[in-house]
Symmetry: C2
Subunit: 551 residues, 2 copies
């Protein structure tokens, strides 16, 4: 691998560890914990790993070396900046326990455990990947570890390699599965601990005890960089409305953080759209209103941020999609026989009145996409819908009406962007580099302490890393029961944007001003060197959320 | 304007000036120059500004202050990182001549001169914009300064403000117009000098005496950052072919620089496609070949870079578009009356055999776009064609054929990206910050020396700024005659990618290896602080080109 100049310089970076992890550690156990909800159900499903106490490490004089331990590690799901640092922190952690400890990486995600595909991660390999983005050290994948067969198959290779602990780096689903695996291995006395690490750029894996998931900080900084650049272009050329869609299906944390960083004219927050039971037309009106207000000031340009998952949060569209899925499943043959020119008519005739109305309001291209592009299960492929174009087109139509009524006289030209892959594998910011390294190192300490079913945890994250509190949180503590594919399942509750939370309130307080005026901020690219106020700032979401936390 | 932490830190950055500009300057004149071609024609069109000598400044002890001078400045055309630094260098330059000198900015491009829209740029304003991206200090625009009426109208406001010199910051067209304006004002004895500054992210305004245009360095670094991030994602997930289109209609310098920085699997260079007279199918085959080769190694993923202007460089497509424009202009009414379902048939029946064949080979959506989306002059809107999707779709079709023939067994999933607006207004890299500031300062020196019809010039750019050679190049020296809208016009010759130039040869030497293997490099974001080998590197295009230069 030919390394860029930055990679070479970053290879020398030493992540800062919390002071508590720089010597020996003593475990301080808190009170037994409860799951987030449905306590009886969760306890029944996790008899061996329910109710464990929160754990906090305290520094003690370094002790004599313990026995070497072999550890396996898995990267699960979508990429997030800092994964390589979790692994290097874990490596350094188990080596500090005993230099003969070994680390094995399972390849291309959880599937590597089941299929017995792995490689030993030696110091040479680890050193190639310190402080770099990507998951390419061992690859990632989306196989779900769910069945007893998978667990048993995995145990074969764990036993073969004498692996006593498995670290699963993943999002809410992967950590849910880590908890199930921990419970299972404990129940059968397999002698394998399982530790989770909170990863996702989406920012929806967090709660009262996990302050943030890794990768969110870096990814939102990359998006904010390019959004800021587009805003500056927008404000220089003064002729386009830029519609920018941002990755994040389930929650709008990314869009909200970028809005706080960049101060665009409009940012739609899916959770608010759902809470207010807004229709697609109302979302369109909100944007059109900004376009008209700015046009009245002579400003025929602006920037709109849209979360990727928006369309699924609009109750009317959600209802339409649900009915369409049922309808086209039930009458697949009849629909297939309809003359393509008549399909639209057919769909409208077969939908309930409310959903037919929503369907009719959609631009023709999107409506067609809803009936044609279906996944192998016959469902609408929502992720293929180009929401940024859908909205800009509908806003254009609305402006035509307003112009006809004499209420709008501006010019309206649009540009579209979608950012996601641009940020998932960026070199981790100093924050994520430090956070991830500490998460990996903490996982090693949890392993040394014989824990299982825990998630690696660092808290006090807006302070300098030396002050961070390190420990472990029982994964069951974050769980509740939710319906998935028709069945009640134990899952980690996804953290959506809270409409009474500080980050949203901050946004809500300023957005009217940002809408009409041009208040763009230009964060620029991530800096790894230079003044700390530039290079070491955590995300604003975290900063605002921390205001309410107490330790 | 709320400033980001980076903006605040960058406000303190002092661009490095060439040593020759740090005291008084003496002018050293070279030999009289000739235009690039069509010398007799150009001389006839520029009797007062043809044949001027190249100018080089030499440092002399600082002299007593000269008379104050009022200067106007215009930002013309598309945004490029560093424009604000040209203006701040110009400001500091004229203030160093005499602190009572004044700088006026004409608003929203050359139109501001004609419409008498301007503002005085005072120290307070200038300080707000030092080392920032964007053209928002005075805005930019695309009005062309071409007619005597415009020149005379401009002269009114120049006289009113007692402006003795006008600095036009623009690309090849704007600098051509600067030369015409310089000639006109000289011919009528208006007493207004005109100086050009070479700007364009496209990199196509350069020649034997202008080493690079400003903005290219920063823009390509931003694109390389996000391309590198996508490559790392690609190499972690191992499941997509990413087709990435890059801004740059006329030349492929941007794509080539990004390829040198990132080492993607495929990069199409328009100039090569044209030189080899390649068909669209051949371009598709070249990409498909890479997909097949990598699939044979088990790698069903990759990255393809595509210059925005590609489609216009494919001789067969160019011929098709030309015939379509003529055909649809001549038979507009007849075509409009054709049943939409029969339009394709109609078009094929009316085209020459060769062009009909090209038309038939295009995916239906693109073919439809060629006949439907036409600009106000009835011409095909080439810029609307999503070349990245066109190619990925055609590659998919080709792979289906190969699979049917048993020659391909891989999986093929695609993602698409287009980068342009993300880079045009980025905060200038240290290189562009220094280069632009020096360009502006040099313009001030050319003004003080009484010169007109010159372009501000810095050379030796791969050395540290202190060693740069500062001076001026007569704009007529870069001109030749070219047909524009049916008429022969004097224009600055666009610099296309030279297939025997070092940058392309370097790419050509390695591309087979990059194609089959995964040789991705990850440049990361622009760094403004830290080790010089990270933060102060010029573009590779410039580095390789300089190898052949001698001073």
């Amino acid at each position: 691998m030919k390394k860029s100049a930055l990679q070479q310089a970053r290879a020398a970076y030493k992540p800062q560890l919390p002071i508590v992890l720089t010597g020996g550690v003593k475990i301080v156990e808190g009170e037994p914990t409860q799951s987030a909800d449905n306590q009886a159900d969760i306890q029944k499903l996790f008899p061996n790993t329910y109710g464990l106490p929160e754990i906090r490490f305290e520094k003690v004089p370094a002790t004599e070396s313990a026995e070497p331990i072999n550890v396996g590690v898995i990267l699960s799901g979508g990429q997030a900046p800092g994964g390589h640092n979790v692994i290097s922190g874990l490596f350094d952690g188990i080596k500090s326990i005993n230099r003969n400890s070994r680390l094995y990486g399972f390849l291309m995600g959880p599937g590597g455990l089941v299929d017995h595909k792995y490689k030993e991660l030696t110091a040479d390999i680890i050193d190639e990947y310190r402080n770099t983005g990507g998951f390419d050290i061992i690859g990632s994948g989306r196989t779900k570890l769910e069945t007893k067969e998978q667990f048993d198959k995995g145990l074969e290779i764990l036993r073969e390699l004498d692996i006593k602990a498995l670290v699963i780096i993943g999002g809410d689903d992967s950590n849910t599965n880590a908890a199930i695996l921990a419970e299972y291995y404990k129940a059968i006395g397999a002698g394998v601990q399982v530790i989770g690490v909170p990863k996702t750029i989406d920012g929806d894996l967090k709660n009262s005890v996990i302050e943030t998931s890794f990768g969110f900080d870096t990814a939102t900084k990359v998006y904010s960089e390019v959004i800021g650049n587009i805003q500056r272009d927008c404000n220089s050329a003064k002729k386009y409305w830029h519609f920018i869609k941002l990755m994040g299906r389930s929650a709008s944390h990314i869009a909200l953080e970028c809005a706080l960083q960049c101060q665009p004219n409009v940012c739609i927050i899916s959770e608010e759209v759902e809470a207010k039971n807004m229709t697609l037309d109302q979302v369109v009106d909100e944007i059109a209103e900004a376009v008209v207000a700015r046009a009245n000031d002579g400003n025929n340009y602006g920037v709109v941020l849209i979360p990727e998952g928006l369309i699924e949060f609009i109750p009317a569209v959600k209802a339409l999609i649900a009915e369409l899925n049922d309808l086209l499943a039930a009458k697949a043959e009849e629909f297939a026989a309809v003359d393509p020119e008549k399909q639209r008519e057919w769909v409208i005739a077969h939908l309930s009145e409310a959903n037919a109305k929503t369907y009719e309001s959609l631009p023709a291209g999107v409506a067609r996409q809803l009936t044609l592009d279906r996944d192998p299960h016959g469902n609408v492929q929502v992720s293929l819908i180009e929401t940024e174009k859908l909205l800009s087109e509908m806003v254009g139509k609305r402006l035509e009406q307003l112009a006809a009524e004499g209420k709008y006289k501006g010019k309206y030209s649009t540009m579209h962007h979608f950012f996601g892959y641009e940020g998932r594998c960026a070199d981790p910011s100093n924050f994520d580099a430090n956070y991830c390294y500490a998460l990996g190192f903490t996982a090693a300490c949890l392993i040394a302490a014989g824990k299982t079913g825990y998630m690696s945890s660092l808290r006090n994250l807006t302070l300098a890393p030396v002050n961070w509190i390190a420990g472990g949180i029982p994964i069951t503590m974050m769980m509740n029961m939710e319906r998935r594919h028709g069945e009640m399942k134990p899952v980690i509750r996804k953290a959506l944007v809270e409409l009474d939370g500080e980050p949203f309130l901050k946004f809500a307080k300023h957005r009217d001003e940002w809408k009409r005026d041009t208040c763009y901020t230009y964060p620029g690219p991530i800096q790894y060197f230079g003044p700390a106020e530039v290079s070491d700032q955590p995300s604003l979401t975290l900063v605002y959320e921390q205001k309410r936390r107490k330790y």
